[in-house]
């Protein structure tokens, strides 16, 4: 931006900020136009005039009449009158003529004052992040689920100035978005004929970013669930343009490849804010870093989550939070008392700001059920087994644990050579859109042997004509690990799932112990909401604020936006020494923040 244009912009911005805080004062100039706000700042065809003391009443009346104005009222304040302008007469011209009248001491618009904007969404009272009155979040599972009034993003006064952020496209790189959800359908990015479903999917490599897991829908709702529509929740923005970029699968997993494609798509399609409520890799990811730098070169702000491991990110790196590009803001989670959430990562050098991240209510992709299985009835294995090997084994050390084991003595002993041990069970997954199989396992299977996991939609032995989910030799290094698989294609009433240990005649190993077996299903719909906690929830609150700032200030660069977010925040003791700013985001203060002018030079003459 050239210096002269930058100077003109800074003057206009400074005037706008003055109006945000200004009391009625002796400033007889036309007020700034707050286009996009909830309503106008003054009555369009009225002015308030203060005549000089001792001006006769007939002189006052004549002064008003000479301009074809009407005297509405003598205000209950000495020498003040309320004047109605004539048809088609502009405010600026009216102010000028009264200013030049020798009998007039002062003139101003008749400003409008109102209670701060409050949306009428039915669940608004549960959105403590937007307005904290100390309310109890009835669906919240994080303790505490009530807090201290005033600990929120200070959005209500901000909404007096802007609620519509739809001029700024926000890309949500996540599990996708249920773009039909009742509170999100009107907030989705218009991708035209090329992207009719409001985004793209790099997990299945198609143009349908439908959320099959829920997380991305929740994030999208925090940013821009339709506000003031008498249902559901509201986002930071009452109106938004949200681009759905599916880069995480049904188990919440994505990769560098899916994410960088998502970032590059978002940049190419004109997004100016990217939300990434995800983390991973403690190793520096150069390719992902390059993609964020590409976003920076294209003036895109990237908001990312600090992570939920209760770690110091300065010591135990989590990327992308640990990247240092200036267009990146990393967000920690606060609870309802504005303490650092117990799960939240922090980092005095790597995490920038805090935002509410516990017991956050927002849209969800559908209804969920969970099928659990403990492998036994009355202590007897109730799965179908063939070829021997598999057994139900209750392990008792403190809390009893139900384990599907091979060999039966696992973790003692070793499995048999030259074996084809199969065990499976049928589950009714009919009517579901998504199914995710999860379990924990300790595995020690030698090279040359194979532990296979299969399913079969028509039921029966999944190792006779079924589909393999995974297979091969493996070890978990002597400890238990979590596993998740997409079981969605098996959505029938007769879905069978099974494990097979296939061994050769050489060295054996300790075997397999499986526990915590469950199948989570989802049926997509448009009316579900969910309350969850995480830095994933804090992140889109800041992304929504970034969109608000860029919509309010169309000439803002990513640097201006990031500065306003960081410097407009509110100092919070829990974040001192835990973040670069020590601040929680504050929407109203960020709107009012004045960025230092750049590109200006001063010449003393």
């Amino acid at each position: 931006m050239k210096a002269l244009n930058r100077s003109s912009f800074m003057v206009a911005l400074f005037a706008a900020v003055l109006a945000l805080y200004a009391q009625v004062s002796a400033a007889p100039v036309a007020p700034p136009n707050f286009g996009g706000g909830a309503s106008s700042q003054y009555v369009a065809d009225e002015v308030l005039v203060k005549f000089r003391p001792m001006t006769p009443a007939q002189v006052r009346a004549a002064t008003v009449a000479a301009r074809s104005h009407a005297l509405l009222a003598n205000l209950n304040q000495t020498d003040w009158v309320q004047v109605k302008l004539g048809p088609g007469q502009g405010m600026e011209a009216a102010l000028a003529v009264y200013r030049d009248d020798p009998n007039v001491e002062y003139v101003q618009p008749n400003y409008i004052y109102r209670a701060t904007a409050v949306p009428n969404d039915t669940q608004y009272g549960q959105l403590w992040a937007l307005k904290n009155i100390g309310q109890t979040i009835t669906t919240g599972t994080y303790v505490p689920n009530s807090g201290t009034a005033g600990n929120d993003m200070n959005l209500e006064p901000a909404w007096d100035h802007i609620t519509d952020c739809s001029s700024v496209v926000v890309a949500v790189i996540d599990t996708g978005i249920n773009y039909n959800q009742e509170d999100l359908a009107a907030s989705m990015w218009d991708g035209g004929a090329s992207f009719p479903k409001h985004g793209i999917d790099y997990v299945d490599n198609d143009n349908d970013p439908m959320d099959l897991q829920g997380h991305g829908t929740h994030v999208g709702g925090i940013i821009g669930a339709a506000g003031n529509n008498t249902l559901g929740t509201t986002g930071v923005c009452w109106k938004a343009s949200i681009m759905a970029v599916r880069a995480l699968g049904v188990t919440g997993i994505g990769t560098t490849a899916t994410i960088i494609q998502g970032i590059n798509f978002a940049v190419a399609q004109g997004a100016k804010v990217i939300n990434m409520s995800l983390g991973g890799s403690s190793a520096f990811d150069q390719t992902l870093s390059n993609a964020i730098s590409t976003a920076q070169s294209n003036d895109v702000v990237v908001i990312v989550a600090a992570g939920n491991e209760n770690n110091n990110n300065d010591v135990t790196a989590v990327y992308p939070c640990r990247f240092t590009q200036p267009n990146l803001v990393c967000v920690a989670a606060l609870d309802q008392n504005y303490a650092l959430a117990s799960f939240s990562n922090w980092g005095a050098a790597s995490v920038d700001v805090g935002a509410p991240g516990t017991n956050v209510l927002s849209a969800w992709a559908g209804t969920e059920t969970t099928i659990t299985d403990n492998f036994n009835t009355g202590g007897v294995l109730n799965w179908t087994a063939s070829g021997g090997g598999w057994a139900y084994r209750p392990l008792i050390s403190g809390t009893p644990v139900d384990v599907l084991a091979n060999p039966a003595t696992f973790p003692s002993g070793t499995y048999s050579n030259n074996a084809d041990n199969r065990v499976y069970k049928g589950f009714d997954l009919s009517g579901t859109d998504v199914a995710t199989l999860s379990f924990f396992a300790q595995i020690a299977v030698q090279a040359g042997d194979s532990l296979n996991l299969n399913y079969r939609r028509s039921g029966g032995d999944p190792f006779a004509g079924g589909v393999q989910l995974t297979g091969g030799s493996a070890t978990t290094g002597g400890i238990v690990g979590p596993f998740s698989f997409d079981l969605s294609p098996c959505n029938s009433s007769t879905c069978s799932v099974g494990f097979q240990l296939l061994t050769n005649g050489s060295i054996t190993a300790q075997g397999v112990g499986i526990l915590g077996f469950s199948i989570a299903t989802m049926q997509l719909n448009t009316t579900t909401y969910n309350t969850i906690s995480g830095t994933s929830m804090a992140t889109p609150e800041v992304a929504g604020l970034a969109a608000m700032l860029r919509a309010y200030n169309p000439l803002y660069t990513y640097a201006d936006t990031v500065n306003a977010i960081k410097n407009g925040g509110r100092s919070v003791p829990a974040l001192a020494g835990k973040t670069t700013t020590g601040k929680a985001v504050n929407a109203m203060s960020s709107l009012a923040f004045i960025n230092s002018p750049t590109g200006l030079t001063a010449t003393v003459q």
Partner: protein, 111 residues
């Protein structure tokens, strides 16, 4: 024995006579996708330079991700060290790294 500790990682290998399993969001606490690597090539370089150097490791597929970046999948994972050790054989291959895993962890109660 109480099995409640989460694993730090999982090492998997595929016997050569078993078909490769479909990619179904296999997840433990692995930090990278086994057998998958991201190659960055010099501008105007063609993907065949990858096959020229790495073909002997058994390439299953090469996918162009744009911005001179290619996702290469190997039938058997050579391991990051071995992948990195031969990169210098062609200067048109400017960078190579594992395909790292990213995730979200939030859960809650659906109403």
């Amino acid at each position: 024995m109480a099995m409640t500790t989460l694993a730090a990682g999982l090492a998997c290998s595929q016997p050569s006579n078993n078909p490769a399993p479909p990619n179904r969001d296999v997840s433990s606490r692995q930090t990278r996708m086994p057998g998958e690597y991201l190659f960055t090539l010099a501008a105007e370089a063609e993907s065949r330079v990858i096959a020229d150097v790495y073909g002997r490791f058994g390439i299953k597929g090469i996918r162009d991700l744009g911005h001179n970046t290619f996702l290469v999948t190997f039938a058997v994972d050579p391991g990051p060290e071995r992948i990195a050790s031969v990169r210098g054989q062609n200067p048109q291959i400017t960078a190579v790294q594992p395909n790292f895993v990213y995730r979200h962890d939030e859960r809650g109660s659906v109403q």
